[in-house]
């Protein structure tokens, strides 16, 4: 059984640049090469990148104590490396995080409103004000659904879609990543 991990060794390297598409392809190439071979494990470190491949759970066990980030395939009954590998792509520095995957169970047809950048989400203009939107509220594409503050600069987040708010996914005052889903909107037609 394959178990791949990217133990970016410690906190410092964790924060650095992201794994590009091409790098993933290359890593897959390595994995497949190892797969074709009779070896049980492979470790690669190039500058910021460390790759540990293993069989029989050994790589996983050594990696478990490592980086807090990036742990992939703990899928236990996972298929062979071929499928596990592409998922290995993930990590990326917090500050430069790409769009996160949808969280929670998406409702069919629901449109997502995502954080335009990393920061602190505010669902109301100030603590004494009512929330910008509530569950069931109707919004237009230009309705402000919240603010994201980064380094003392506030950025209004527009709904981007017309419709009804069916789920609010971020709490007032919560730190959000760029691309994180803030709320979901049902029906209506998307705009802008």
């Amino acid at each position: 059984m394959f178990s791949g991990t990217e133990p970016w060794s410690d906190g410092v390297t964790d924060n650095e640049g992201s794994l590009t598409e091409r790098e993933v392809q290359r890593i897959v190439g390595l994995i497949e090469a190892l797969e074709r071979s009779s070896f049980d494990g492979l470790e690669v470190e190039i500058d910021g990148l460390k790759l540990t491949l293993g069989r029989g759970g050994t790589a996983g066990s050594s990696a478990a104590s490592l980086s807090p980030n990036v742990r992939l395939p703990s899928q236990s009954a996972a298929p062979p490396a071929k499928t596990a590998a592409p998922q290995a792509a993930p990590p990326t520095a917090p500050a430069k995080a790409p769009a996160a995957k949808p969280q929670g169970a998406a409702q069919p047809g629901a449109l997502e409103v995502r954080a335009p950048l990393r920061g602190i989400f505010y669902g109301r203009a100030d603590p004494s004000s009512p929330p910008f939107v509530t569950l069931g509220a109707k919004v237009s594409a230009i309705s402000t659904i919240g603010l994201v503050e980064v380094m003392k600069v506030f950025n209004a987040v527009p709904a981007g879609h017309e419709g009804e708010v069916v789920e609010i996914c971020a709490e007032d005052g919560q730190a959000v990543e760029a691309g994180q889903v803030l709320l979901r909107i049902a029906s209506g037609k998307a705009s802008a």
Partner: protein, 457 residues
């Protein structure tokens, strides 16, 4: 008034600055850090670091009780507030006094009085300082209209509890006064908890000139010359210098004397800054406000006077008399400071937090860098975007500009976007070079820069 262990109630470069001043005087330091700043450079530099709350400033650096409790709990007998956060909170100064902790700054009364811009304006007027024509307070849109009719447009609408450039609106059109009044009042209430507004004549060709003062507990007050901080973006200073270039000698002298008059009039103690606006068309000046704390731009004054302002704050706080009389102060050469922030100038100065991958500061004669950054530092999203203050000191202004231009070009920062390209553009501007600075210059420079093709890499 013993000052043997100082609690540093701040973060970033100013925290390091305070720690250095303390160490130079043989004073221990304890820094209160948020969870986001546990591994920051100042946290390593202080003798001890204690966590005072979560990353959000509201629950850490702005939590007065947490701050004072930490100071008391770590056996500190003094507290330095830096700038920003609680630095101009009279309540913090009072809370310190209540707990037997020496506040490194002026008295709670002095902070309170200058904190309310209307009260400050009133005192200045009583002391004979020139103030801009306008209102003492406007309670309604109708009142604002009548001020406009009396004083004329344009006007600057300000929040009485604002200051430092926050909560200001230029009123240019009589028809918009009512709506601007309503929104400004709402914003002021939300931001400062006080919706009191006032109006002042707006000066279009304006320079921002401020005078550094020092006062002790015995009524001695001196000034350390003035700084020009006209280069501002959205009322935030970008480039500062000392002395102010090209001021008529009589005007320069009058401004310095006015600052002394105000500071003496209130027996001001500690370091403070009296801010003025200079109408460059008429060579007249007007009192704006007084900042009762150390300023971001204090190093340019340190460069030309050779006096360490933070050390003087600490000495004053522990009850020493001023070590300088006015006649001891002489200014040598010219100093310029550039604020380097994590903002992308080509993307409307969008904040760009993240990890600093490379940090190679400029080196050489006449260069000072005050910063809490280093290669590998992860800039938190929770606080302001100031990364470093680059200060140069040379024999004259032209040499200082050349030095700064070179130092900016030598500075290599990678991993985050910074204002280095904008600063490099601004420092080489012809109008700036000729000393023709005003508070609109930055906007022009930004327009010029963004019109140019973006520099490679």
């Amino acid at each position: 008034m013993s000052v043997s262990r100082v609690f540093v109630a701040n973060r970033g470069e100013i925290a390091g600055r305070v720690i250095r001043a303390c160490r130079a005087l043989g004073v221990e330091t304890v820094i209160g850090v948020s969870e986001a700043d546990r591994d920051s450079l100042p946290a390593r530099q202080a003798d001890r670091a204690v966590c005072i709350g979560p990353a959000t400033a509201k629950h850490s650096y702005l939590d007065m009780k947490a701050v004072v409790a930490a100071a008391v709990g770590t056996g500190c007998d003094a507290l330095h507030p830096g700038y920003g956060f609680l630095a101009e909170s009279a309540s913090l100064a009072q809370l310190c006094a209540d707990h037997g902790v020496t506040f490194v700054g002026p008295t709670p009364e002095q902070i309170h009085r200058m904190g309310n811009k209307l009260e400050a304006r009133l005192l200045a007027r009583q002391l004979g300082l020139p103030i801009l024509s306008g209102s003492e307070k406007v309670g309604s849109a109708a009142e604002a209209l009548s001020v406009a009719d009396r004083v004329g447009l344009p006007l600057m609408m300000k929040a009485a509890s604002g200051g430092g450039g926050r909560g200001m609106k230029i009123v240019r059109d009589r028809n918009e006064i009512a709506s601007q009044f309503t929104s400004a009042a709402a914003e002021a209430r939300s931001a400062f908890g006080d919706d009191t507004l006032y109006l002042e004549r707006y000066i279009s060709n304006a320079r921002h000139v401020e005078v550094q003062v020092l006062g002790d507990r015995f009524g001695h007050v001196i000034h350390l010359g003035e700084r020009d901080c006209s280069l501002q973006r959205r009322h935030q200073k970008v480039i500062e210098e000392a002395p102010a270039p090209g001021l008529d000698p009589a005007l320069r002298n009058a401004i310095r004397e006015a600052a002394l008059t105000l500071a003496r009039g209130m027996n001001y103690q500690s370091a403070g800054t009296v801010e003025f606006i200079v109408d460059a068309d008429t060579d007249t000046f007007f009192f704006l406000e007084m900042n009762t704390r150390i300023q971001v731009e204090h190093p340019v004054t340190e460069a030309v006077t050779g006096i360490d302002l933070v050390q003087e704050q600490l000495r004053i706080a522990r009850g020493e008399t001023l070590r300088y009389r006015q006649e001891d102060i002489s200014l040598t050469g010219h100093a310029i400071e550039c604020r380097i922030t994590a903002e992308k100038p080509h993307e409307d100065f969008r904040p760009d937090p993240g990890r600093i991958d490379r940090w190679d500061p400029p080196q050489g004669q006449g260069i000072r860098l005050d910063s809490h950054c280093f290669a590998g530092y992860e800039i938190p999203i929770f606080y302001d975007s100031l990364l470093a203050k680059l200060i140069v000191h040379e024999s004259d202004r032209d040499a200082a500009i050349r030095r700064m231009s070179q130092a900016l070009a030598d500075f290599r920062i990678e991993g985050v976007g910074t204002t280095l390209p904008f600063l490099a553009h601004a420092i080489q501007d012809e109008a700036f070079g000729a000393g023709r600075v005003n508070t609109n210059l930055v906007a022009q420079l930004i327009a010029e820069m963004t019109a140019q093709p973006k520099a490679g890499a």
